[in-house]
């Protein structure tokens, strides 16, 4: 049995949450809307209709590129990509070919591995086909509400070698997109769509395999994980039997947890790209790019580092808080308030993460108030704590040296002394943490 290394690349489609569509002024909010109620000549592809580009969508893509360390193509353009399908009313999709808005991005994983982003481009979404069957037979209807919605496509290099990295990367991309506020990136609603290219190479051989399998139409991280794992095993079995893996597109069967063939790719389709003559090319000035860059707020990775350094709360708490930008901002406010009340950030984070207390109190002030009530304690302030700890450490040098020489139990005595000074109003957990920090720090 040979050992194989997976070679995985990703294509991620993100539907931007702009108010209007990419090339017309129709509303872009199409989810669960009455079919064909948000349409106009442009997104219906009627004779004579023309595209008028949405500048906000272009800025959003540049933002996304800059937030993922990509290079902005200062000269960029749209192209027509031709293919015939009932969900594509013009018979071409306005997309970007050789000069996408952003190229050569990079995302670092926790392991330190870097994933390279080949390109990020902007295009228009297609209409939605709905397939039905009744006594008259099978038929399909087209809903054009989605037609022309701004769609951002990100393509990675085939840098992934295991499934965990794929999932970590995708969750990070989802987080970045949500932090930028450019999309809900909701997979159930289709505003984030995943495609993976997967093949296997022998462990000792660094040459890329001569085939690839496209996994398409997968609408959750969990299913993608299952599909990739199944597919890795399937391909390994075939290769071990000496069977050539056929180049094809495969889908995922959620009931059987297996992948199945959807389409055999004979030859690369010829999209007959050429520059979209109805939209003049773009020239981005350095100043324009600088302004967009300055509009990017704190990204998840920066927040991760700051929470760890400033708040010193456990990593698993940080991840939970980070996963929702609003919640992490809520926590920032609590941390600010806690400077006064010294409840302790671990306690607060715990109540958020494990008890969802923040859901009950939209205002951080009320959250703190409730917390003080629960503990029924009017805790001393940080300043009072600091003073008391400082005094105790100086008044009891023997206890300090005992602690430093390894007698950990002496901490109980020191806490008691501090409480005495505070008239019992200190939060034991906070005082303990503060003592430990100060006992260790002089060394």
């Amino acid at each position: 049995m040979n050992k194989y290394i997976p070679v995985i690349g990703l294509e991620v489609h993100i539907e931007l949450s702009t108010v209007s569509k990419m090339f017309c002024s129709c509303s872009a909010l199409h989810f669960a809307k009455e079919p064909n109620t948000q349409v106009c000549p442009t997104c219906l592809g009627l004779p004579g209709a023309m595209p008028y580009p949405n500048k906000i969508a272009i800025k959003d893509v540049l933002k996304f590129g800059l937030a993922t360390n990509s290079k902005v193509n200062k000269f960029s353009k749209f192209d027509r990509k031709h293919y015939m399908y009932p969900d594509l009313p013009k018979s071409y999709q306005i997309s970007q070919y050789d000069l996408p808005f952003c190229i050569n991005g990079k995302i670092s994983l926790k392991s330190g591995k870097t994933i390279n982003l080949r390109r990020i481009h902007l295009e228009e979404d297609t209409a939605k086909l709905q397939h039905y069957e009744d006594e008259t037979g099978q038929y399909s209807l087209i809903d054009f509400n989605r037609s022309g919605v701004a769609l951002c496509e990100m393509v990675t290099e085939p840098d992934f070698e295991n499934v965990d990295d794929v999932i970590e990367f995708l969750k990070e991309i989802q987080l970045i997109v949500r932090y930028l506020g450019i999309s809900q990136a909701d997979m159930e609603k289709g505003s984030m769509r995943l495609e993976a290219n997967l093949s296997l190479r022998p462990e000792k051989d660094s040459i890329l395999p001569d085939y690839k399998i496209e996994l398409k139409n997968i609408n959750s991280f969990r299913f993608l994980e299952k599909a990739l794992n199944y597919e890795i095993q399937r391909q390994a079995d075939l290769l071990n039997k000496g069977v050539k893996v056929a180049q094809e597109t495969r889908g995922f069967d959620q009931l059987k947890n297996t992948t199945f063939s959807q389409r055999i790719k004979e030859e690369a389709q010829d999209y007959r790209y050429f520059p979209e003559p109805d939209i003049p090319p773009f020239r981005f000035e350095d100043k324009f790019i600088f302004v967009i860059k300055s509009e990017i707020g704190e990204m998840p990775q920066e927040k991760r580092v700051r929470f760890a350094n400033d708040y010193k709360i456990p990593q698993n708490y940080i991840e939970v808080l980070l996963s929702d930008k609003k919640r992490s901002e809520y926590f920032d406010k609590l941390a600010e308030l806690d400077k006064k009340y010294s409840i302790g950030l671990n306690t607060i984070a715990n109540l958020m993460v494990n008890k969802n207390l923040d859901q009950e109190y939209p205002e951080p002030e009320l959250f703190i108030k409730k917390l003080l009530e629960i503990t029924k304690k009017d805790y001393s302030t940080t300043d009072e704590n600091t003073n008391a700890v400082y005094e105790v450490l100086h008044e009891f040098p023997k206890a300090v040296s005992d602690y430093n020489s390894g007698k950990g139990a002496v901490i109980g005595f020191l806490v008691g002394m501090v409480q005495k000074k505070l008239g019992g109003k200190g939060n034991p957990k906070v005082i303990t943490d503060m003592l430990i920090l100060n006992l260790k720090s002089p060394k």
């Binding site: 008028y52 015939m84 009313p89 013009k90 018979s91 071409y92 010829d270 003559p277 109805d278 003049p280």
Partner: protein, 463 residues
């Protein structure tokens, strides 16, 4: 009284006639004579009379200021059947759309209507604007009013003839490779192809999007100029539009591009242009020969870029949501679809489409350089006078060469105006003026001067 917009408006002001009289005058003539020439595919009679009633009411109420609000009041126009008109059939001259009723109107249609003009009908044209004779229309050819054995030029054949035959004041057409200037030249009237990006193309059925322009025909320069003031300008629907205006000047130097007078151009055609040059010179216009050696490549570039864009733009006519199935396409459209797909195919793209865009840049640069030396250019429009119906219809290459002197302006996006000048063997002659992008005003000035130098008055053909 009905010849030009100005004379009609004066008569309306002086209460000699009503708007209803104007509409009735033209509709009567159309109903009587249209069958001889096959100009109109659809008439808009009911709305024309309704609007006439409305404007006559307004004229009674407020005769002084009404022309400020409606600068084109009393102006009767038609549109080539490539312009979408809400509720009024629009066919593109093709069987594919023979029963297509648009749910919206082109921006320029709305603008012209808002300015008070009355749209009297939709004119015949080569199907999808593919052609230089009008013979490619699926609704039969339009005939030349000067001699019905001859073609009126194309593809805006019906529009040109509607003005020449006195069926309306002004008619809108499109010019992708000469489709306004050449039929204007063949019908003895003015035809303006404006700068690419000056008039909105939104709602006009696209032929080749990087070359298409929206312009109009008239029988005098002042109508051409006044209508352009209304039709031009940016909107939020056509992203290629710009509001620009080149500076006016008094002492115009005009270039004579020698490549436009070389072999293939009939003697009678080039002699007439030189005759016009002499008249200008007598009136202190300066002329200078300019060298544009890349002109000869323009037609090759055009017949690569244009079909590429044509095949892309026609892809939506699949007969699923509107229109008839694809087998309703005529031979010329099929030819261009096949040619266009070929030049865009992988493996051929670099050799054809990409090379063509590179040569296009050379042609643009060469013209830009020429306009550093001269303000405008003067040249023949068509290499020959009108040809006979059927003469070139079986030889597409020969037909394509009719565009050889008009195509460069489309390649470069510059404006061109076809000016009528003289009759020979009962058929019209003329010349074209071209200028840098957004130099329309300068072109109008030169054409206006020519009208006064020659005491020009439109003499309609007898047919």
């Amino acid at each position: 009284m009905f010849t030009s917009v100005r004379t009609t408006q004066n008569a309306l002001r002086n209460k000699k006639i009503s708007v209803r009289d104007v509409v009735s005058h033209f509709l009567t003539k159309i109903n009587e004579k249209n069958k001889d020439l096959n100009v109109f595919l659809t008439l808009n009679e009911d709305e024309s009379y309704e609007l006439a009633k409305k404007y006559d009411g307004l004229l009674k109420e407020n005769p002084d200021q009404i022309f400020e609000k409606y600068p084109l009041l009393g102006c009767i126009v038609s549109f080539k059947d490539l312009f979408l008109t809400k509720g009024l059939r629009t066919t593109a001259g093709s069987k594919v759309l023979d029963s297509f009723i648009p749910p919206y109107s082109a921006k320029v249609v709305d603008k012209i209507k808002k300015a008070g003009a009355i749209i009297i009908g939709k004119t015949n044209c080569d199907a999808w604007a593919h052609g230089a004779s009008g013979e490619n229309s699926d609704f039969g050819p339009t005939l030349n009013p000067w001699n019905k054995a001859y073609v009126p030029g194309g593809s805006s054949s019906g529009s040109a003839v509607s003005v020449a035959a006195g069926f309306n004041h002004v008619s809108f057409g499109t010019d992708t490779g000469g489709s306004i200037r050449q039929p204007a030249n063949f019908c003895g009237i003015y035809g303006l192809k404006p700068t690419y990006g000056s008039v909105s193309r939104y709602g006009v059925i696209a032929m080749a999007s990087s070359l298409d322009t929206v312009g109009h025909f008239g029988n005098n320069i002042s109508d051409i100029e006044n209508v352009f003031k209304i039709s031009s300008g940016v909107d939020l629907c056509d992203a290629t539009l710009k509001d620009e205006d080149k500076k006016q000047k008094d002492n115009i130097t005009v270039g004579i591009p020698k490549q436009y007078f070389e072999k293939g151009v009939d003697q009678v055609v080039s002699d007439k242009v030189h005759e016009a040059i002499k008249i200008f010179e007598k009136n202190n216009y300066k002329f200078k020969e300019v060298n544009l050696p890349n002109t000869k490549h323009a037609i090759s570039v055009y017949y690569i870029i244009q079909p590429a864009e044509v095949c892309s733009n026609l892809g939506r006519y699949d007969g699923i949501r509107f229109g008839n199935p694809r087998n309703s396409f005529g031979a010329e459209a099929k030819r261009r679809i096949i040619l266009g797909n070929f030049v865009l195919s992988s493996g051929y793209y670099d050799a054809y489409y990409k090379k063509a865009t590179q040569v296009r840049t050379l042609i643009i640069n060469e013209l830009d350089k020429a306009f550093d030396e001269v303000d405008l250019l003067i040249a023949p429009v068509s290499p020959s006078q009108p040809f006979k119906l059927g003469e070139k219809v079986n030889d597409p290459l020969k037909m394509y060469l009719s565009d050889v002197l008009t195509v460069p302006a489309n390649i470069a996006g510059i404006p061109g105006l076809s000016v009528p000048f003289g009759i020979h063997n009962g058929l019209s002659l003329g010349f074209q003026l071209m200028g840098p992008r957004f130099s329309e005003k300068l072109i109008f000035k030169m054409a206006r001067d020519f009208e006064s130098f020659t005491n020009y008055k439109f003499e309609p053909p007898k047919f």
